[in-house]
Amino acid sequence: MTIIAGCDVGSLTSKAVIMQQDKILAVEIIKSKAKPQESANLVLENALTKAGLKLPDVQFIVGTGYGRDHIPFVHKTMSEISCHARGAKWLVPSAKTIIDIGGQDCKVIKLDKTGNVSKFIANDKCASGTGRFLEVMARMMNISIQELGEVSEKSKQPIQFASMCTVWAQADVVKYLNSGFALEDIGAGINMAMANRVSMLVSAIGIETDICMTGGVSKNSGVFVSLERILGHKIKKARKLDPQLAGALGAALIANDQIKGRA
């Protein structure tokens, strides 16, 4: 019985996936601690407990995410790009373009026929294309990050925001809030601003269908739908697993390859 694991220590959340070959045994998402070691230990331990396993049972672990170089127990580290690519391909086998929006980063990855990364682009500019941006905005509006995603549906007239910079966009949000604009229009405007940013990355790399979205922000239905509208293409939903786990899943799959490669 080959047990493998992937551990994605992100800036905001840490994720672990434990697999037995192609079968997922357990998954876990926790909020990242200040120290990556702690996050890694905790998230893996939780996942192992769920699976009824112990660390020595796991044969190969791949680490990824911002804290990847500081995870004590991994056998190999890979960048988030490769892991998300691998994970997304498993979740949506027809995927050619992957949009991964996490807490600190937004990446668009293109895959070739065999599922290898043929090109990628990451957001270097201002931070308005990141999950963190949404969190700051949600906090500004006194709603939860889940609610922020949902408000878009109710809005008839999303507000157009200064989408270039978090600090500045915030000033705008405050202003609109104080001027009595409807919460849903502001929220929808924020999701739209985000989608606009991301769509620029997507266009820069060139769209190829199918498109699939991973990372925490893919759970924000407002961004998801706005992005579909701007791109003019449907985005495939990952149904087999929470898309926020795609990085950890990819890491686990890469661990699996490693084991196979050895055998």
Partner: protein, 256 residues
């Protein structure tokens, strides 16, 4: 004459009640998305403290981001003017005011009569605001109030350069990952913020003494000292008083 001033900030709402030049009572509570309601709440709290009733207030001036939303205010005034007035009330010799709030930082230059000569807000994309510190405190899992104290224990000097709040946060995350110590990181953050604000102050011409620092961030000793060091001048704070309410005091003074 009994008057009230209210500073409706991005993060906190400040209300003061004054009798002529005397401060009777003050309240600072977090801002919400319903500006009118919070102000009412803050005002009631302040009235209670001062043992007064709404009908005792003869004039009520509002300032800050949400100034226009307070329908029962008798007048509104710009933040810059209120901060200038408030500062002059604290310290007659003040010529330069540095105000760092949650949303923006401002440098204001005034003359002896309190007339605003020059002023400047933080540059776009600049991380020189209280919000920046708050996000960093979250990332480091420490309390906002403790930042200054913890930073004093720093041993190694490091540089945080990114100009964007969210990216600075990533930088902080990588510093933690590299095993840097929290006091050192905090010290670097304070220096970074101080540098941003210092350029603002320098941008409006030569620094004229006395310099007074106000706004919520003035409570952070780390930023305060870093700013003194960067500017090379002594900076004062409103004595025996919360620097956060300076704008509200200015508003009240305008009312009377």
């Amino acid at each position: 004459m009994i008057v009230a001033g209210c500073d409706l900030g991005s993060q906190t709402v400040k209300v003061v009640i004054m009798d002529d030049m005397r401060l009777l009572a003050k309240t600072v509570i977090p801002a919400t998305t319903q500006p009118e309601k919070v102000v009412e709440e803050a005002l009631n709290l302040t009235l209670d403290q001062a043992n007064l009733r709404m009908s005792d207030i003869q004039r009520f001036v509002a300032t800050g981001y949400g100034q226009k939303q307070v329908s029962f205010a008798t007048q509104t005034a710009s933040e810059i003017v209120c901060h200038a007035r408030g500062a002059l009330w604290h310290l007659g010799s003040v010529r330069t005011i540095i105000d760092i709030g949650g949303q923006d930082a401002k440098a204001i230059k005034i003359d002896g009569q309190g007339k605003v000569l020059r002023y400047q807000y933080n540059d776009k994309c600049a991380a020189g605001t209280g919000r920046f510190l708050q996000i960093m405190a979250d990332a480091l899992e420490i309390q906002l109030d403790d930042m200054g104290k913890i930073a004093e224990k720093f041993t190694e000097s490091i540089t945080i350069s990114n100009q964007c709040v969210v990216f600075a946060e990533t930088e902080v995350v990588s510093l933690i990952n590299d095993g840097k110590k929290v006091p050192d990181i905090l010290n670097a953050l304070h220096k970074a913020l101080a540098a941003r604000v210092a350029s603002l102050v320098k941008g409006i011409g030569s620094i004229e003494q006395d310099v007074l620092m106000t706004g919520g961030v003035a409570k952070n000793r780390g930023v305060f000292h870093a700013l003194e060091e960067t500017l090379g001048v002594r900076i004062q704070q409103p004595e025996g008083m919360d620097p956060q309410i300076n704008g509200a005091i200015g508003a009240a003074l305008i009312a009377s």
